[in-house]
Symmetry: none
Subunit: 215 residues, 4 copies
Amino acid sequence: MESGARKTFLRLDREKQRRILSAAIDEFAAWGFHRASINRLVRAIGIAKGSIFQYFGSKEGLFSYIFDYAIETVRFSLKKVKRDTEHLDFYSRVEASLMEGISFIENHPKLYRIYLKMVFQEDFPARDRYLKKIRLFSVDYLKPLIETGIHRGEIRADLDPDIAAFMLDAIFDRFMQAYAVPFFDSEGTIHGSGREEIKKKIKQVIDLVKRGFKD
Amino acid sequence: MESGARKTFLRLDREKQRRILSAAIDEFAAWGFHRASINRLVRAIGIAKGSIFQYFGSKEGLFSYIFDYAIETVRFSLKKVKRDTEHLDFYSRVEASLMEGISFIENHPKLYRIYLKMVFQEDFPARDRYLKKIRLFSVDYLKPLIETGIHRGEIRADLDPDIAAFMLDAIFDRFMQAYAVPFFDSEGTIHGSGREEIKKKIKQVIDLVKRGFKD
Amino acid sequence: MESGARKTFLRLDREKQRRILSAAIDEFAAWGFHRASINRLVRAIGIAKGSIFQYFGSKEGLFSYIFDYAIETVRFSLKKVKRDTEHLDFYSRVEASLMEGISFIENHPKLYRIYLKMVFQEDFPARDRYLKKIRLFSVDYLKPLIETGIHRGEIRADLDPDIAAFMLDAIFDRFMQAYAVPFFDSEGTIHGSGREEIKKKIKQVIDLVKRGFKD
Amino acid sequence: MESGARKTFLRLDREKQRRILSAAIDEFAAWGFHRASINRLVRAIGIAKGSIFQYFGSKEGLFSYIFDYAIETVRFSLKKVKRDTEHLDFYSRVEASLMEGISFIENHPKLYRIYLKMVFQEDFPARDRYLKKIRLFSVDYLKPLIETGIHRGEIRADLDPDIAAFMLDAIFDRFMQAYAVPFFDSEGTIHGSGREEIKKKIKQVIDLVKRGFKD
DNA sequence: GATGAATGAGTTTTCATTCAT
DNA sequence: TATGAATGAAAACTCATTCAT
């Protein structure tokens, strides 16, 4: 009862659903969970306060719905990269994944903000449940990539896949944070240090990684 | 006066100052800035609510004072490591610095929590000012370390010190987060995955770094 | 139309009517009038919220219907006792009536709860109207009983029937309350102090009454 | 923390305390616990909403304070009657106690209303705790009275004191309810059937009791 | 005849800050 | 210098009723 959307919401016409979700994402991205205000939200959408509670049961129900939506979006875009780069070598695939991560932040800066706040606000309701949904990344995504690389002879065979995954995960995370965090302005939009610049930096770091990973 | 402590606070006897700071650190670490409650704080300390405002001017003034104190504590412990390891080679110094970072989290988990929340809660008052105080790390600390390494011939001369610093910074940050974040329990204490384990992981990652950095 | 059921309700098939009434009794018994929730009620029944308003016009209309039903049920069971005990002496008839009251609480605990809440919540809508329906008890039921008793010589002729009725009414009411009130648990069911015990007590009290009433 | 008054309230000047209590009694008497509104209350008193919570912690804390005050008032006035009537015979003492009960309702109609609502609203928070405070009546008050009566030879020795207490308690309660309940008008004041009338009725009923209790 | 989405005033409680004592 | 009473806007959530479909 507490999380996810109810039939009442799903029965609304597409456009209204979109308006509500968009405004809710804005609100959570701007304020985090606790300081987000349902009052402000419904004022922005132009509906009655009671409606939100009819749609989602509670503030947390609304958040939960948004969060699941964000996870699904990430998962989907990464799956696509994996599929589309199957013919490339390991290091190119890592580079492409990193670029996709950057693109995701550019296309969905607010969703990424919501994610970051979630990770670092430990008093979040049901935070553990949400975190578990995310932790699949290095396990489900990176490790298979690395193992394929070893199998193809692109990575030296004596490298521990777990350590490799840890290091790549660290670099991934940091690149995304470095790209996103210091550049949020008060409006929440990103005005980063430029796509070209970050691309160059990624190439250089991957080159370092290559030296470490190869025979 | 919005930030820092006033004379009225500095004139208190040491013990009372310490009690106030300790309770404030607890409160901010547990709740973050916005959800921290002055009511709860003064109840815990056992002083009048008005006193806090006389000592620090505002909630933000109190936070500012705490934060400066945290920065100073980090800076101090890292300076010590730098000094104590001057005779070692670059890779050992990096390893020692990483271990020192881990130790800091163990000794001051609440300060690290405050730092993390600060970094990822963008609606923080005067957040930019605080962030600038922190970004000195890779510049002031890591770059000189790397340049000395190059100069001593422990790092290949053609490696861009900025890229090297970025990568090390990423690994530093991630190690600390990996050590701290998933292990905060509801009480805010850390029960990490064991010092020995993390030490082994650090060694393995530094080995990877070495391969990338050396000739 | 503020009270009573509309044709739309009476046209429903018996089983559906029964399901609605039963759920409504549960709701009012558990929460009283004001705190009873139509939302909760329709969820429990599994019909649309609008239907209740089509059937009964308003929350009060529904309550009114339930209350009339309760009164009718009591009246019916007491009439039966009166008829069935016509051949017994006055004191046995009083005892039988008391036992019937106890039985009523056992068989219809929720209706009795609704009655009690009604009597002691003065801000009830149309409360006066409902109370008048109830006050008939001592007048319509007890007084004829007493007068028959006097006429048959079972009660001394100089006893004022009104005073006698008042006292019996007090004892009736108190027995029922004593039986019901302290034993409502949080689920609303009754787990009284045992039928045998109460029966013994009734006999003893009637014995006291007899001493007062007889020559 | 949840119940009773805090220092902040007790430190207020007598007149303000009195104004607040009086308004709160009005509110609870008129609406019962759940429907009583803190909004309405503070508007009536003319203080800020926050103040009530500073004084009593919560709505229940306020109620609890009022309720304890009511109990204390009853206990005090009954103790006085017991003391003042020590030289009279049992039946006169019962009569005096009854009259005192009636007087209490006349002097504190709102407190009696609060009591009645409390008894018959089972979903009350901490209701059991409150009820226990009250149940002392027949045990602590009536039984000693009866035992003294037996000892003095005013009551036949073979009468079970518990049954006698039960019956008297029933009559007490009913007299008070009969006096109070049907005569609450919408303003909550009592316009009963007249002191003289009730006095006469009391005498008549006590006469009946006497016949039952004496040898 | 039945439905259930929309409403918005209502609820209790928390909070940082002010300021008279 | 220290106190702590007063404030009132803000929070999340509930509810009976209406009415277009």
